[in-house]
Amino acid sequence: MKFQKKRAATKQGIPTSSMPDIIFMLLLFFMVATTLREQEVYVSFTLPEAKAIEKIENKRLISYIYVGKNGRIQIDDAIVQLKDIQDIMYKKRVALPNVIVSLRIDKNTNMGLVTDIQQALRKADARRINYSARMKE
């Protein structure tokens, strides 16, 4: 006697018709979360580490100043001189009154340079700053 295998009447296989929807959803998430890197960083630096750090909520307000290992300073897309910082930051401050200046400074920089930058920022009246640091484990 031959046994007949019992088969479920329903078709096997996962319906794939909703796949594009799912992927669209993922896509939308990434599109919203993306900030395209708008500027290239020319200086190399290692950020210091700290424990008591906070997140900056509003990314649109941030303006970066990079200071590299060799003491070069970059604002936006260009390497600038120390004496130019005041003018540049003043213009930014006029355009965006509550600008937050994020200082991304290499950890082996001398405080002299940092102080000079801070003095320039004070003169430009861009006084909200943030010492960028990584989370210490």
Binding site: T16, S17, M19, P20, I23, F24, L26, L27, F30, M31, A33, T34, T35, L36, R37, P48, A50, K51, A52, I53, E54, K55, I56, K59, I62, I100, S102, L103, I105, D106, K107, N108, T109, N110, M111, G112, V114, T115, Q118, Q119, L121, R122, K123, D125, R127, R128, I129, N130, Y131, S132, A133, R134, M135
Partner: protein, 179 residues
């Protein structure tokens, strides 16, 4: 009579959606690769207003309000004239901050940080971090004992009160002229 038969194509007016998933995958991949979910973290601070040296006035500050931190180029730290190590700053300050919680606004602790021009930036951040940690710890403790909640769960009014009770006052000393 000739019967004209309309020719009907089968499956007309439809296009296949099978490749839709592939196209979306491609887009998804592009955004995945180009995304930088990079939240800027760091230690926030508000610099004092710039006042030209001629117009500066020295505001007297009583000794018990002031915690003066000096960091020299060798990495030695002085807190009110005593040499201490950076990890000790936190414990030292916590007591002093706590003792001033119930004092009026103009008697709270002021932490002043002063560095040499050749001090390492990393050291300065470590010291600043310690000071901030001390304040955060006191705030956390205060919130827990008064409202039984963590700081991040407080309501806006409570946060306002907390900030009034334990304000973070960090003063970056005016740099000295280059010798």
């Amino acid at each position: 009579m000739i019967h004209l038969k309309r020719r009907k194509r089968e499956g007309a007016g439809e296009f296949s959606t099978a490749s839709m998933a592939d196209i979306t995958f491609l887009l998804l991949l592009f955004f995945l690769v180009s995304t930088v979910i990079d939240v800027d973290t760091g230690i926030g601070l508000t610099l004092p207003e710039y006042i030209p040296p001629e117009e500066q006035e020295l505001a007297p500050l009583s000794k018990d309000r002031l915690a003066a931190l000096l960091i020299n180029e060798n990495g030695d730290v002085l807190l009110n004239g005593e040499i201490i190590a950076i990890p000790q700053i936190q414990d030292n300050l916590i007591e002093r901050i706590k003792s001033k919680i119930d004092l009026p606004k103009n008697k709270k602790l002021v932490v002043s940080i002063k560095t040499d021009r050749k001090t390492n930036y990393n050291l300065y951040i470590q010291a600043l971090d310690e000071v901030k940690s001390a304040y955060f710890k006191v705030r956390e403790e205060y919130a827990l004992s008064h409202w039984g909640k963590k700081v991040k769960d407080l309501t806006d009014d409570q946060i306002k009160e907390l900030r009034e009770k334990i304000p973070i006052i960090i003063s970056i000393a005016e740099p000295e002229q280059v010798k």
